[in-house]
């Protein structure tokens, strides 16, 4: 649709601007403020320049948390995106079954995040949980609150359980938009199933797939609640991801300066990656025109 130029449209955007300005810009300014100051208490602050940023950049604790975060995000994306595409291809195309599948598949997405943690906390316990109990009966040494590997496996399965459906739903929506003429043409050409996927379905899904990847990147990079409820960041610091570490630092220890510097860099990293995704996405939109 061709849009008309109208500067008065700013008035329509004004309420959003004021509200988001209040709930985003003011807090963000506070963070910037803390990140360059230090205090001896009594609300007396003095500027320290970029000291906190240097401290964070060289902090081993943050490096470790960042490493864990990158590892976690890579693993879950490597599982969820292919699995999501595969499941979307298995979805019934229409009718009652499609509706039933849609509703059941969406269910994990609507569960409060702390409840997701609780569900898996119970499900994976060796004494009362189905998963943990079964594994223990099979003689597998498994305990997510003591053993690092078990904790990681549990958190990854939990995230796959929680979020693969998002990828499935988006890919399914993409597949639905492919006109049946494409499939008929492929049939006439006797294209193999793989070729249909490679040359028809995948290119048509590219747009939604990028959105799915963007959302999964963003959300997994700021994951807090689920691992917090499940393992509390433990055993030791084995599952302390960036957000968990940040909350510990800011609210637990009240180290405002370093926490603020950390916050800003954390936000910037997410923004940067998202901006790259966004640019690629808009370019694809333009090509499809």
């Amino acid at each position: 649709m061709k849009k008309t130029v109208n500067q008065k449209a700013w008035f329509l955007v004004l309420p959003v601007l004021l509200l988001v300005g209040f709930s985003a810009v003011i807090p963000l300014m506070t963070v910037v403020n803390y990140s360059i100051q230090d205090t001896f208490g009594n609300n007396e602050f003095f500027p320290v320049g970029l000291e906190w940023f240097e401290e964070i950049l060289h902090s081993e604790r943050i490096h470790d948390a960042l490493g864990r975060q990158i590892l976690f995000t890579s693993i879950i994306m490597a599982i969820e995106i292919p699995l999501g595409i595969y499941i979307a291809l298995q979805m019934p195309k229409g009718g009652v079954w499609a509706s039933v599948c849609l509703v059941l598949i969406s269910l994990p997405l609507l569960i409060p995040w702390n409840v997701v943690g609780t569900i898996w906390q119970i499900f994976a316990r060796t004494d009362i949980g189905l998963l943990g109990h079964t594994l223990a009966t099979l003689g597998i040494d498994y305990n997510y609150s003591q053993d690092i590997l078990s904790a990681w496996v549990t958190i990854i399965i939990m995230d796959v359980w929680h979020w693969t459906s998002l990828v499935v739903l988006l890919c399914y929506a993409g597949l639905q938009s492919i006109p049946s003429a494409y499939y008929q043409a492929a049939k006439i050409d006797q294209a193999s199933r793989w070729n249909v996927f490679r040359y028809i379905e995948l290119p048509k899904m590219m747009g939604v797939l990028l959105i799915a990847a963007l959302l999964r990147f963003m959300d997994s990079f700021m994951i807090y609640t689920e691992p917090m409820v499940l393992t509390g960041g433990g055993p030791g610091n084995a599952t302390t991801f960036l957000s968990i570490d940040l909350v510990k630092m800011a609210i637990g220890q009240f180290d405002l300066g370093p926490a603020a510097a950390f916050s800003l860099m954390y936000f910037l990293v997410i923004l940067l990656v998202s901006w790259v995704f966004f640019t690629v996405m808009s370019n694809i939109d333009k090509q499809e025109g």
Partner: protein, 276 residues
């Protein structure tokens, strides 16, 4: 849409078995939670069984009779509804502007809105706490509702813009020619036309405000304590009350499970911020 028969292979045609397996994988943990919620604590810790031996609703009764628990639900509902109303009210005109007009800085503004959806709540937890404490809103529903607008307003704008793009511009122009003022046109003609979009946006505001824990827990203490916060504080001296915790969990899943049926065809659009 007809489904062309295709050759067997790795990417073979649809097999219901895989779909069933996936759904089983999704449902099992939820079933287990329900199983737990219908047992007494003695049974949970004493015996291991796939089904409750004798079904008890005691855990649910605890929740419906203990003010600590049921106020959690009421508080959560209150701020979630407030948030949905605020988000929709401010987002409707803005989405209209983005879908119809070109103006100075529109693209940057649109992306800037999205960046707020990307902001980790952990970054905002402490500044929000200080901001709302300093204006005397700490531990009120409106504080949580306003805090959640951080990610819900951008989401709503994006979803609504997606729906509004589908309405032909000629409708606007005809209405103006017919002598409608902007306000009359917007409320009487345009809003009813995108009613389903508003429904979907409302659903997603509801959902994302309902599932969030960190901000709602940081901004409330007693009077406006959310159900999520109540649930994370169930560990008492005698250990965790698994039965009641499970029942509380099941009750938080219910609202979503009921409403989802109505938006099942639009859920992809909502989750993708209106970009599908």
């Amino acid at each position: 849409m007809n489904n062309a028969p295709v050759k067997k292979g790795f990417f073979s045609s649809k097999s219901p078995a895989i779909m069933l397996l996936y759904i089983l994988f999704l449902m099992l943990p939820i079933y287990w939670l329900m199983n737990m919620s219908l047992k007494t604590n003695e049974e949970i810790l004493g015996t291991f069984s796939m089904f409750p031996n004798d079904i008890t609703f005691d855990n649910y009764i605890v929740i419906f009779t203990d003010p600590d628990w049921y106020w959690g639900y009421i508080n959560s509902m209150t701020y979630v509804v407030m948030n949905t109303v605020i988000s929709l009210t401010v987002a409707l005109p803005a989405a209209y502007a983005f879908s119809r007009y070109r103006f100075l800085g529109d693209k940057h503004l649109f992306f800037w809105l999205l960046t707020n959806r990307m902001a980790p709540p952990a970054v905002f937890a402490l500044p929000f706490f200080q901001l709302y404490s300093s204006v005397g809103l700490f531990d009120t529903h409106i504080a949580v509702a306003l805090a959640h607008t951080l990610f819900n307003v951008p989401l709503t704008v994006w979803i609504l813009e997606g729906f509004m793009k589908g309405v032909p511009k000629e409708i606007d122009e005809t209405a103006y020619v017919d002598g409608f003022s902007f306000f009359a046109f917007f409320t009487k003609i345009f809003t009813p036309m995108i009613a389903s979009g508003i429904g979907v946006a409302a659903f997603f505001c509801f959902m994302f405000s309902w599932v969030e824990l960190l901000l709602s827990r940081t901004l409330t203490a007693v009077d406006a304590k959310s159900i999520a916060a109540t649930m994370t504080k169930t560990v008492s001296a005698s250990g965790v009350d698994w039965g009641v915790l499970s029942a509380a969990g099941i009750l938080t899943i219910l609202p979503g499970a009921i409403v989802i049926y109505f938006v099942r065809h639009h859920i992809a659009k909502g989750l993708s911020l209106g970009r599908v």
